[in-house]
């Protein structure tokens, strides 16, 4: 073996020494390769594990928290929802179509591995400036097509998501995909290789040389040299995955499955040793039996291949034939390559020769954990101390609102979701663009599910703790606006290089903020994904801890969307307008400033606003609901108008600058409308809960009129709609 090979594989000298201590000898190349991928940040969470312990993970409806392939929550009637989010950032930077497509494929496998039928996808995306950067347009175009290509083909609707454009993502886009599945609780499968003697089977696609060392690749910064590592990108085959999905679900129904796990990052290595470690067993495999796509593959290549659309199944002894028959029906291979052993070792053979022998737990548990140094970055005090009071005041409020609506981050994402089949499965009650969260019915019940992803990374950049809190609060608020009770969280933490103290500080603070908000709002974390090293040429992306959240509606007929619906409905704002512009999109777009403090968040007010809105919706008193987020109150009103094709007349009496009042992003605000005849009931209820609120005006006409003291917004809905819906298509077709 080449001297210092471990360094090329991303292991430190100490880690190498530790491996020698564990094995009580030098590892061979296969063993070293296995350690290097399993001990990479991507698989081991060695830099983040200690911090992630802060997340609350317990709650009454949590059936499975972190540790399995996906989280599981109880939604009553013996049913469960399985969900998880994952990133595929680096592959997407290099080959946007295939990178994004295989990202979708990977997260879908995590869901059906648990025994659930995937019913929805959401995508949380970040790119550089769409108007200024050709590269960003190229990446955006390819990523969206890749998500569409995979999701549409396999037949899982992409029902929601979010997209932000910011220069920090120019060379390192973020592609996070969440998948949600539904199952009967009795069908829950786990990823444990239990039962000594049980056969271990490789099922699905054949193994090729693709993606070797993908996990290590994900744990480094992007550089020119990444180009050389290009084989780390794979081509996805959604058709194969569809067959695999149907075969696996059919197999689970038979009861012959003991454990099952998909082969994602680090392929056969991670799936086998994780399954053994979970069960406290060992696995012996003959690599010569693994079906291959290419000739002459070495044990090293077979163990580290990241070929897609493969699973590892531990079946009941004696049921191999039955398992094979099911895969055969779907035109897939299922080959027994080994068995579960009692000795706790991963024993890999090629025919009769042992090529690797490592204690399974050494790969999964013994990886050294680090607590990198954390230090508050210098930019923070500069940004916070920026004096915003010197900014010139708005001259033309209407023009400014139009400009905001045409900003790609705010503008309609129709150009994107038109490419997604968001209806297949016929469960989509509120698809993309219709409501603050996607709403799906649960067939044969009255129930509905609400799904969202959220993260405003500018807030996190300016105040990681508060930004983390807001990401959680906004996700919950979005669910509430559709009439759902928020239940649980999955998160995807996208940060720069954790070896830099400033980055690690952002990470720690953001997780602490998210943890507090999750605790307060009663939405535990069931799992997630950490993606570090999102940097190019030493510049990190904005810290982006994406929150994926699932909520439950007991009565799908009460599902609420954001569209203004009836003339004369009364518009009410729950929450408070504050004079705060810090961290707002307005500052960034209109003044080119990323400064100030992120908006304040009072979690008890947040809870009160949310519970009030939810209770009004459940009582059937609300005709539309929408939270105020990027672009503030003015943009929220405009969005309700555009969605409903109806105008509104609004009077704002707050004693505040027009810019703050219209475009400030104060948290904990929800716009609702209620029919005129019910307004007294609503106001009485509001008075009872003591929630701060304001009656703003009413729905009607073909214009949005907002009147303040000394200023006015007056825009035809049709004009706003044209800007809002056309902006992204216009940039992409130019």
């Amino acid at each position: 073996m080449k001297e210092g090979l471990w360094r090329e594989m991303g292991l430190s000298d100490q880690e190498y020494q530790q491996i020698k201590d564990i094995l009580e000898r030098e590892p061979n190349e296969v063993e070293l390769g296995m350690f290097s991928v399993m001990w990479s940040e991507h698989c081991s969470y060695k830099n983040s594990k200690k911090v992630l312990k802060n997340f609350p993970t317990q709650g009454p409806h949590i059936l499975q928290g972190p540790g399995e392939n996906a989280g599981v929550i109880d939604i009553g009637d013996g049913q469960a929802v399985v969900f998880k989010i994952e990133s595929h950032n680096h592959p997407s930077a290099i080959e946007p179509y295939q990178g994004a497509a295989t990202g979708v494929g990977g997260i879908i496998r995590d869901i059906f591995t648990m025994g659930a039928r995937p019913i929805a996808l959401l995508d949380s995306l970040r790119f550089g400036s769409l108007s200024k950067s050709k590269k960003s347009r190229f990446l955006f175009d390819g990523v969206v097509a890749g998500i569409a290509g995979y999701g549409n083909c396999i037949g899982i609707p992409t029902v929601g998501g979010e997209i932000y454009f910011h220069p920090s993502y120019e060379d390192n886009p973020l592609v996070n995909v969440m998948c949600v599945g539904l199952m009967d609780q009795k069908d829950m499968a786990k990823g444990a290789a239990a039962g000594v003697g049980n056969p271990v089977m490789v099922v699905g696609a054949r193994t090729g040389r693709d993606g070797i060392h993908g996990a290590t690749f994900a744990s480094e910064e992007l550089s020119e040299a990444s180009e050389e590592k290009r084989p780390a990108v794979q081509v996805g085959d959604p058709f194969m995955e569809k067959l695999l999905l149907e075969a696996c679900l059919e197999l689970i129904k038979t009861g012959y499955v003991v454990g099952m796990q998909d082969m994602g990052a680090a392929g056969l290595t991670s799936s086998s040793c994780e399954m053994a470690a979970r069960a406290g067993t060992g696995i012996e495999m003959d690599l010569a039996k693994v079906p291959r796509r290419e000739t002459g593959m070495t044990p090293y290549e077979i163990m580290l291949s990241e070929s897609q659309e493969r699973m590892l199944v531990v079946a009941q002894q004696g049921k191999e034939k039955e398992v094979q028959a099911i895969f055969d029906k779907w035109g897939l291979e299922a080959v027994a390559v080994g068995r579960v052993t009692a000795d706790g070792f991963m024993t890999l053979k090629e025919n009769d020769t042992v090529v690797a022998r490592i204690p399974a737990r050494a790969l999964t548990e013994d990886c050294p954990l680090y607590e990198p140094e954390a230090k508050e970055p210098a930019y923070l005090s500069r940004a916070r101390e920026y004096d915003l009071s010197t900014l010139p005041e708005l001259e033309d409020c209407s023009r400014t609102l139009l400009a905001m609506l045409a900003t790609p981050t705010i503008a309609s994402k129709e150009w994107v979701f038109k490419q997604y089949d968001y209806m297949v499965g016929i469960n989509t009650v509120a698809g993309p663009g219709a409501a603050d969260a996607a709403v799906l019915r649960v067939k044969d019940t009255k129930k509905g599910l609400a799904l969202t992803t959220d993260c405003n990374s500018r807030y996190v950049y300016l105040d990681p703790y508060r930004g983390g809190q807001i990401a959680v609060a906004e996700a919950a608020r979005n669910l509430v606006c559709t009439g759902a009770q928020p239940l649980a969280v999955t998160d995807c933490l996208n940060f720069g290089n954790p070896e830099k103290p400033e980055i690690f500080w952002q990470f720690k603070e953001a997780v602490a903020g998210m943890s507090e908000a999750c605790r307060e709002l009663g939405t535990p974390v069931t799992g997630g994904n950490v993606s570090f090293y999102n940097e190019t040429k030493g510049e990190a992306v904005y810290p982006t801890p994406v929150v994926g959240m699932v909520g439950l509606l007991d009565d799908i007929d009460k599902a609420t969307t954001m569209a203004f619906k009836n003339d004369d409905d009364i518009i009410i704002l729950l929450g408070q307008n504050k004079d705060e512009l810090g961290g707002s999109l307005f500052l960034s777009i209109i003044h080119g400033l990323e400064a100030g403090r992120s908006p304040e968040l009072d979690l008890s007010l947040e809870k009160l606003v949310q519970s009030t809105a939810l209770s009004l919706i459940k009582q059937g008193l609300v005709t539309a609901a929408h939270d105020c987020s990027e672009g503030g109150l003015a943009v929220a009103l405009a969005e309700c108008c555009i969605a409903g094709g109806k105008g509104a007349a609004v009077l704002l009496t707050d004693n505040m600058k027009a810019s703050s009042l219209l475009f400030g992003e104060s948290q904990s605000r929800i716009l609702i409308t209620t029919p005129k005849g019910k307004v007294d009931t609503v106001l009485a209820l509001l008075a009872e809960t003591k929630v701060p609120y304001k009656v703003l005006g009413d729905v009607g006409g073909e214009e949005l009129n907002i009147t303040g003291s000394g200023w006015k917004v007056r825009l035809a809905v049709a004009v706003m709609e044209e800007k809002y819906r056309g902006a992204i298509a216009c940039l992409m077709n130019s």
Binding site: C153, I154, G155, D237, P238, F239, W330, Y422, I426, R441
Partner: protein, 234 residues
């Protein structure tokens, strides 16, 4: 009326079609596995949407060689009802039960959105419950739904009234702007000469329930069921 929903490897609207005939219409329904040769005595075969064989090579190209498809052709030739939706329509053109071909959308993108359709004929078994020239809303979801045929075929389709659905605007005008995918003559769905095989790109099964906000598609399935009931009582 007993419906049979064909399942090809890669079909993904099979369960949706099944749900609508079974749960919404309350009709008997069976899944028909592509590898078998048994139509299980159904009265109407539904070829559902999806990506049979991954849409590899050409949409519907590989699926038409499934063993079950020989039986479907026989069934159609004997007058049995066959409904091809989206990928099902593509398969019907590939196998020659319907003329023409469905090619890539000029946008080169997959397109998923509602479209307005004008019902051109109400005297077919699939459209009896619609009113003449009724304007309905039915969603499309495809990347290759641009209907093409040579001029002679198009003329024949027009002359023989084989065009059943056309893309139109909200007022029913058949215009280039209302054509989402460059289909010749705004064709969204056609029927064979005998009138028992219908192919359409839009998805009626996606708009057959109140909770989904639109029930226009249900009329298509109801037409079949009512037609048969009418036939039996006569």
């Amino acid at each position: 009326m007993k419906f049979g929903v064909v399942v090809f490897p890669g079909s993904n609207c099979d369960a949706d079609c099944f749900h609508v005939v079974d749960k919404v219409l309350g009709q008997p329904a069976e899944y028909l596995w592509h590898g078998q040769e048994d139509l299980k005595g159904v009265d109407c075969v539904v070829l559902p949407g999806g990506f049979s064989y991954g849409d590899y090579l050409r949409t519907g190209a590989i699926a038409r060689f499934s063993p079950l498809m020989d039986k479907v052709v026989e069934f159609a030739n004997q007058g049995g009802f066959v409904l091809g939706i989206c990928n099902g329509f593509q398969i019907l053109t590939e196998i020659g039960l319907l003329p023409g071909a469905l090619v890539r959308n000029p946008s080169l993108q997959f397109q998923c959105h509602n479209t307005y359709l004008r019902v051109e004929r109400t005297d077919t078994p699939f459209t009896g419950s619609f009113t003449d020239k009724q304007i309905i809303q039915v969603p499309i979801a495809h990347g290759e739904g641009s209907y093409f045929a040579d001029p002679a075929t198009i003329e024949r389709l027009e002359n023989q009234g084989q065009i059943v659905f056309r893309y139109c605007d909200a007022a029913g005008a058949v215009t280039p702007e209302a054509n989402p995918n460059g289909s010749l003559h705004n064709i969204a769905g056609i029927i064979n000469e005998k009138g028992n095989v219908l192919g359409m790109m839009p998805h009626p099964e996606r708009c057959s329930e109140e909770i989904l906000g639109n029930v226009d598609g249900r009329l298509l399935f109801e037409s079949l069921v009512k037609g048969q009931q009418g036939g039996e009582s006569r």
